[in-house]
């Protein structure tokens, strides 16, 4: 059993004419929190979908626990997915089921456990995220942060070997964010699994990550332990980590020089 | 909505649909005529069938006893050959029964009227009716009328 859970080699992915991922190699360790960070729209979520087999790459390969994801048959892929947990940005709870039923869903689908046993497990998972009392609520009655926590409880119901988090901190108030940060770290340590956090929230993510990759324009522009990145002198990494308005990622959207445009006057066609 | 209520509602819905189908079949269609799908086929030749169509009724004394099942043009004899299916319970038509193309009402649809003869043998499957009376074609009648008037 090697140290690396996920091996990505030579990954290329495009949508239409845009090259979203242009040659990425990544090694994600079996234990610990690995962060994938970068500006918005650089294909971080796409990476997660490629790992989970929901998208097929133009070139390159993804190996999860020794299996090439895109060469698996449907039944094998489904078997692999049962060992992966995924937390979507919106939680993706099933809206016509209660919180309890949402967390119980994977158990009811994939195991033959008795209702009594399922109930115990669901309540324990909900307890781990602090929402045992909300078991009978409907998803529409939950706040965004609570919905994400329920989705997290659901993601761990089959005791997966890894959890992928898609922008877990985006749009959260400081308290909810603090809760989620704490939960991600604790769950990872208690369950002793691999967590992949995709985010553009530098400070919170780096505070819990064991290793981080910085992605921009479809390529990896840096990777290392959080302390290494913070001390880095690469321009790209500096701009991202410090949140500078202008740098390798320019402030101005591509346009003709300002004087030319002003002089040409009315340029409505 | 509890599962039980939903299941009852769906059950009622399906039952209502089937009941509607049933009602339509029984009350407003000629289902009765179909219980005797195994009628016997006879044929007849006409000079002119007028507006007779497949599935037009065949009646005796005004009572429906069968329907037209086929209409063909016989190029050998230069006339129309009509096949019809008679319901099995009406099996006592003498072999010299006459078949005429009649009109129901003044402007109604055309049908075949059977006038029984006096022979002792009866029509069976495959029999042909010898005595036929073609449809009255309006133009011919008008033509005859004018012709007879012109002669006076």
């Amino acid at each position: 059993m090697s140290d690396t859970l996920i091996k990505i080699r030579g990954m290329k992915f495009s949508r239409g004419e845009r090259m979203i991922i242009d040659g990425i190699d990544m090694d994600i360790p079996r234990k610990g929190i690995t962060a994938i960070m970068g500006p918005s729209g650089t294909g971080k979520t796409t990476l997660l979908k490629l790992i989970g087999g929901q998208l097929h790459p133009d070139a390159g390969s993804v190996e999860v626990d020794g299996q090439n994801v895109h060469k698996l048959k449907t039944s094998q892929l489904y078997a692999l997915r049962k060992r992966m947990g995924m937390l979507f940005q919106s939680g993706a709870l099933l809206t016509d089921l209660t919180v309890f039923e949402n967390v119980a869903y994977p158990l009811r689908e994939h195991t033959r456990m008795s209702e009594g046993l399922i109930r115990q497990l669901v309540l324990l998972k909900l307890n781990a995220v602090g929402l045992r009392g909300a078991a009978q609520l409907m998803p529409s009655e939950l706040s965004g942060g609570m919905a994400r926590r329920v989705a997290l409880a659901r993601a761990i119901s089959l005791d997966p070997m890894m959890i992928m988090y898609d922008e877990p901190f985006t749009g959260q108030d400081p308290i909810s964010k603090g809760v989620l940060v704490k939960l991600i770290r604790e769950l990872n340590d208690v369950l002793d699994i691999c967590s992949i956090v995709v985010s553009h929230d530098v400070s919170d993510t780096l505070s819990i990550a064991d290793y981080a990759y910085v992605v921009s324009d479809g390529e990896i522009i840096g990777h290392g332990h959080p302390q290494e990145l913070v001390a880095s002198d690469s321009e790209w990494i500096r701009q991202f980590i410090d949140g500078l308005a202008d740098g390798p990622v320019p402030f101005h959207y591509e346009a003709a020089p300002v004087l030319d445009e002003l002089i040409s006057g009315d340029n409505r066609s | 909505m509890s599962t039980r209520t939903i299941e009852i509602a769906v059950g009622l819905f399906v039952a209502a649909g089937l009941a509607a189908l049933f009602m339509l079949a029984m009350k407003v269609s000629n289902l009765a005529n179909y219980t005797g799908d195994d009628g016997y086929e006879i044929s007849a030749r006409f000079d002119n069938i007028g507006g007779l169509k497949v599935r037009s009724p065949v009646a005796a004394s005004g009572v429906r006893v069968g329907q037209v099942t086929g209409i063909e043009y016989d190029s050998g004899g230069y006339e129309a050959r009509v096949t019809m299916s008679i319901d099995p319970q009406y099996d006592k038509f003498p072999t010299d029964t006459a078949a005429s193309v009649l009109t129901s009402g003044l402007l109604g649809e055309q049908f075949i009227g059977l006038q029984p003869g006096a022979e002792e043998e009866y029509l069976m499957a495959g029999s042909e009716i010898e005595l036929t009376q073609s449809a009255l074609v309006l133009e011919q009648i008008v033509g005859q009328f004018l012709y007879s008037k012109a002669e006076e």
């Binding site: 979507f88 689908e109 | 399906v14 339509l24 009350k27 407003v28 269609s29 599935r55």
Partner: protein, 261 residues
Amino acid sequence: MMLLDKLQSLGHKSLSSVQRLGRGHVFLLHVLPAMQGMLFRPSLLIRQMYSVGVQTLLIIVVAGLFVGMVIALQAYNALVDFGAEDSVSVMVVLSLLRELGPVVTALLFAGRAGSALTAEIGLMKATEQLSGMEMMAVNPIERVIAPRFLAGFISMPLLAAIFSAVGVMGGYLVAIELLGLDAGAFWSQAVAKVDLYHDLGNGMIKSAVFGFVVVWIAVFEGYDCVPTSEGLGRATTSTVVHSSLAVLGLDFVLTALMFNE
């Protein structure tokens, strides 16, 4: 040159329409085999038959009643000049069984149930529920799409039958109570002129075909929509428009095939 641009955009639009048509067929090929999942989970189908069939009942019954009554009135007006008012029942029954039952039901179904299906599935796509199911190793086509598809296909002929039956009742009420026609003549005329296989049977075949097409369009538009609120709105409109046109177009083809005398 403007003309060239317009031609290019026309070509592009035609190509993407054709591509969409192809996607819709591939989609169907995925949905049909996925229906076996319902053998193990009949509750999925029952739940959808409630939401798609039972909840469309009210509008179908009310519409059927009014349509039947109107036909009786109009048929009377047309026939009374020929002294043929006894044939009112024949007109009511035949026009309902052959055309109005299947077609109007299909149009109402597309508007009420079809658009709801598109919205529901589209919303599930937009909130990543379909994606979430995939990641939980549950096939959303089997679990979400196929039950809705089958429910629509079964419900349509049932609804069309109810529409026609209620329409005939409505026509009967108008004919007997309002117009003073003879009740006996009403039913006997109908029995004489309406054929079980030719009229009722063909009408039911029509509504089954319509049901298949309307549900297919509704479900595909939802599944294929752009997962934004604007995309969802466009998808539901598209469902109603496309399925209505498809129904009317198919009606012509089927009528020409079936009622060729």
